[in-house]
Symmetry: C2
Subunit: 202 residues, 2 copies
Amino acid sequence: MSDYPSILLENAVNQFSSLPGLGRKTALRLVLHLLRQPENDVEAFADALTRLKKEVHYCRICHNISDTEVCPICQSTRRDRQTVCVVENIQDVMSVEKTGQYSGLYHVLGGIISPMDGIGPKDIEIDSLVARIEPEQIKEVILALPTTMEGDTTNFYIYRRLAPTGVRVSQIARGMAIGNELEYTDEITLGRSILNRVEFKG
Amino acid sequence: MSDYPSILLENAVNQFSSLPGLGRKTALRLVLHLLRQPENDVEAFADALTRLKKEVHYCRICHNISDTEVCPICQSTRRDRQTVCVVENIQDVMSVEKTGQYSGLYHVLGGIISPMDGIGPKDIEIDSLVARIEPEQIKEVILALPTTMEGDTTNFYIYRRLAPTGVRVSQIARGMAIGNELEYTDEITLGRSILNRVEFKG
């Protein structure tokens, strides 16, 4: 006999425990919770998953997730349409949006160059970024990629690809996180912060 | 604009974050993981949930979860059919089964008496337990409830209800740390507790 008294139960537990970071005990707890909910609620859960996968779009311009062919940000007339912020993935768009400090457009690469993982420039949305510059009359591209070796490699590759277009290329500032103590900042970050110091305007 | 670029995405995140112990960041991570899986896999996930809720049975004898009207344990001819282990819930059946120390039948109460939560004896499967003793010729009832105040109250109530039937009533040994749940007790301790059960003296 299996560890589970019901194959239906086991199937549901298997599905949940296939998700990253969920073990079998947690999965069982979640499934038994769902089992106690009204049938309509469980239907709604299942339906949300099916519809998400079947009906979701990726914006054909910026490749962000979207319910429409072109996402609301790319459609917006109230945003600065001459600036494009390049990010690795969808979560990063949400993170930048939450700051409330940015009102331009986005370009979601869908990954970064990582030879170790076999991801090259052709596997991510770099060609489509370069192709946007002239027709959309983009004036500035802000690189907002992870501050890792892979992020640096990708930054440098994009920079070289964009050079012929004459567009201004910037990258988000690197330095100490706001609210941190020098004592607890790693040496590389602190070293960079010193090299990249800016004029103090009191 | 909402925090999410897609209503479909937001719906799925809402569903996951409605589960106990899952916050919105974790929910988003799980949903984006699912979004990267093949459509068939996501369908299978949704399907497992729908079928679980629609098709699952509770054994009409012991009230354990089951794919059939009577669960495999209650149907089994290889188990000791004169002993019934009383547990709070489905997880507890799985926990006892895992010890490999018990080969009798079960009775799942579906809760324990808890005046604080408004759960009285009539809200859980006590009547149906008492009704099993004579027709099934049960010789021993093992109480395997949590070692909490509520568990003790329930033990005592069941003991008094069973007294007229003359069935032997035992409880699992208090090798378990007081205040713990069966689900989180290691298999060896739980197995010992079953072997060292003592007669219940109200």
